[in-house]
């Protein structure tokens, strides 16, 4: 199907959020969110938290925010735990996070 300029721009907008994950930004300039995904973490819902974070980053088209998984973080009773690294600041640790809280945390980051 032949496309118009508007069609191309629509495809661009729709696809950008899909491949935004692949933006390989410079490590010391980006916000880095680590989700603790040890066995306990996963059991306590870390996967939902991780998914919510990634979805949020894609939906808001945030560049320079990287969400990654890691092994167990923090203590088991406080799982799921996430760590937020903002360049130039000390790492913030959030405990007993759930999907809704994760979205809130991301919202806080954008404002800051």
């Amino acid at each position: 199907m032949k496309k118009t300029i508007e069609d191309i721009n629509k495809i661009r907008a729709a696809m950008q959020s899909e491949i935004i994950l692949r933006d390989n930004t410079v490590a010391d300039k980006e916000i880095h969110i680590i989700v603790g995904m040890g066995t306990v973490g996963i059991n306590a819902g870390a996967r939902e938290v991780f998914n919510a974070l990634v979805d949020e980053v894609e939906a808001k088209e945030l560049r320079g925010v990287r969400v990654t998984r890691d092994g167990a973080l923090g203590t088991a009773e406080n799982a799921p735990v996430i760590e937020v690294h903002v360049p130039g600041k000390e790492a913030a640790v959030y405990e007993k996070v759930n999907a809704a809280k994760a979205v809130e945390i991301v919202a806080g980051l954008i404002k800051a």
Binding site: R22, A27, R69
Partner: protein
């Protein structure tokens, strides 16, 4: 929406290392485990670090797995995708940092010093999906040109950017387009030279394999700028992956109305056709290339008339290299000033080099012009393996020359390279260490040009053959110093009298090695000695007293030249020895030497 992207390199290097099978394994097992809603598997173009292929990169972490095998796929899925733990043993290990595992591609020394313009999409998008190219601002430059810019404005932007031809000679691209635009003719052509033939060069191939739409978009822009409606891409048939991806890209562009009549409803018409070359080196020369597209035998013709006046089918034609085109859309989008801010005074932007030879990180790198050779070789390239010493780097392929260690700190640009007797060329860079004989290197390149000479003009056809005979004599220890002088004379004669660029530059490898390594030539002639122990006629294999008499070498020797008593020192019969080196490779005691 996918939360995890598994990028599998589909460049030629990784592909021939089974990356296709790895991708299939990922796709299949992701579906089997019910993860296909969350995880997508993407085949991409070249990531650049071909030495440690096949390469897999997993986002959002950006985890960089190297030397992956099909058997590793279940472990990566189980550990990384399901449990979220990096597979430590497969991560790339940076030797310069004390062999620590590097988690992401962006953290490697190899990447840190690079600036990716022409390669910006290589290893990021799926080259077989036009939508991913569009997502990375693809075809935005074309839209801008067709809706906002007059043809002359486009050419002015290119002129201001300082972009010069990336195929080797470095002619200003904007000026070339201007010549063609100024021609008053209804029919003009836009050609792309993808006939990359230098030994050890794979830049254009990687761009075509990793980001074919960038070339199509730039050619369409060129068509609009000079007033042409037909483009041709001349690509070698030996690049099957590049050809395949170009075919897919052209089909997708036509489907989207980005090629054909009335592009994007603007009324501008342009189409592109692929022409496959069968691999003659001379067809990379512009007049020979166009003769070949016309359907004739690929032979050059004298210039002028230049192609911009009378080129393909005797019509005004522009011919640019793949990498040149790969820069165009970015310049239009980001502006001439952005491009001109990179590089040196007379060479702007970046250049892609294919690193090969005696270097740790064999692969593809893109650096700003003005980067020194030392940075490329030591920082990005990871230095020379096995603790050997750097001797020279060869740039420009068979038309270029060698850069010795004393010029390691020279900033690389078109003019500097020419001033030290080499040239930019298309960007092949072959690194040599102390084990390379420079006479042998010159001979290797000359053998190549003698084979590839089309035979149309005498200086190239016969002159280069005579030149090769001189080199042969030298490597056999039969030459005199008079021969050396005669040889040098002949070089200048060939350079000034050949018809096309192939012959005019063919003696360059000889001249540049003579310039920097004359002592090696003289050692071959005066002392009948090859300092690097390469030239077979001038070396002998000897067994030293370190020999334990184990007989391993004598069993391996293909011509039974080694004999002796067990537990006593063995001996090599020099009349039988063919100097194949098998004995050295076999000996566990380092008892066999070349001298």
């Amino acid at each position: 929406m996918y939360r995890t992207h598994i990028l599998v390199c589909g460049g030629t290097g990784c592909h021939s290392n089974n990356s296709g099978k790895i991708r299939e394994a990922f796709e299949q097992q992701i579906i089997e485990r019910g993860l296909d809603k969350d995880v997508c598997v993407v085949g991409t173009g070249c990531f650049g670090l071909c030495a440690v292929g096949p390469i897999i990169i997993i986002y959002p972490e950006g985890a960089f797995y190297s030397c992956v095998k099909v058997e590793d796929v279940p472990e990566i899925i189980e550990e990384h995708i399901v449990k979220g733990r990096l597979v430590e043993r497969l991560l790339y290990h940076e030797k310069a940092l004390g062999n620590v595992a590097v988690k992401s591609l962006a953290e490697t020394n190899f990447y840190k010093k690079q600036t990716r313009v022409a390669l910006r999409n290589c290893g990021v998008i799926n080259p077989e999906r036009i939508d991913e190219y569009i997502a990375r601002d693809g075809y935005q430059a074309l839209i801008k040109c067709l809706t906002e810019l007059e043809p002359q404005q486009i050419i002015d932007i290119l002129k201001a950017s300082g972009l010069r031809g990336r195929g080797g000679a470095g002619f200003p691209t904007g000026v070339k387009w201007q010549f063609a635009k100024n021609q008053d003719n209804d029919t003009k052509y836009v050609c792309c030279n993808a006939d990359e033939g230098d030994p050890g060069a794979f830049m254009d191939r990687s761009v075509l394999e990793g980001d074919p739409h960038a070339v199509l978009e730039a050619m369409t822009i060129a068509g609009y700028a000079i007033g042409s409606h037909q483009g041709y891409i001349y690509v070698r048939a030996e690049y099957p992956i590049a050809v395949e991806r170009l075919k897919i890209a052209i089909a997708q562009s036509r489907e989207y109305g980005l090629l054909g009549d009335d592009i994007l409803g603007t009324g501008f018409a342009f189409d592109i056709e692929l022409k496959l070359g069968s691999g003659a080196f001379v067809c990379g020369e512009e007049t020979a290339l166009m003769t070949s597209i016309e359907g004739h035998r690929g032979e050059p013709r004298p210039r002028p008339p230049f192609p911009a006046v009378k080129g393909l089918f005797a019509k005004p034609t522009i011919l640019n290299n793949v990498e040149t085109y790969a820069n165009v859309a970015q310049i239009i989008l980001k502006g001439a000033d952005w491009f001109a801010s990179m590089g040196t005074e007379k060479s702007k932007g970046t250049k892609v080099f294919a690193l090969g030879g005696k270097i740790t990180n064999t692969g593809l790198v893109e650096i700003p012009m003005g980067t020194t050779l030392r940075e490329i070789i030591e920082d990005i390239g990871g230095g020379i393996p096995n603790g050997k010493k750097f001797k020279a780097a060869q740039t420009g392929g068979p038309s270029g020359g060698c850069i010795p260690a004393e010029h390691l700190d020279i900033p690389i640009d078109y003019d500097n390279l020419i001033s030290i007797g080499s040239m930019m060329g298309s960007g092949g860079m072959i690194v040599m260490d102390e084990d390379n004989c420079m006479v042998d290197i010159a001979k290797f390149f000359l053998e190549f040009t003698v084979d590839e000479s089309c035979g149309k003009c005498t200086p190239c056809r016969i002159g280069n053959r005579r030149l090769l005979e001189y080199l042969d004599k030298i490597t056999k220890g039969q030459a005199t110093l008079q021969d050396l002088d005669d040889m040098e004379q002949l070089c200048y004669y060939i350079k000034s009298n050949s018809l096309c660029g192939l012959g005019q530059t063919a003696p360059n490898p000889v001249l540049s090695t003579l310039r920097y390594f004359r002592d090696e030539y003289e050692a071959h002639i005066k002392e009948r000695r090859c300092p690097a122990h390469v030239c077979k006629n001038l070396i002998q294999y000897k067994i030293t007293d370190a020999c334990k008499g184990c007989s391993a070498c004598s069993r391996k020797c293909p011509v039974s030249a080694i004999s002796g008593e067990i537990k006593k020192k063995f001996d090599i019969d020099q009349t039988k020895c063919i100097k194949c080196g098998q004995c050295i490779a076999t000996c566990r005691f380092g008892a066999i030497i070349k001298e």
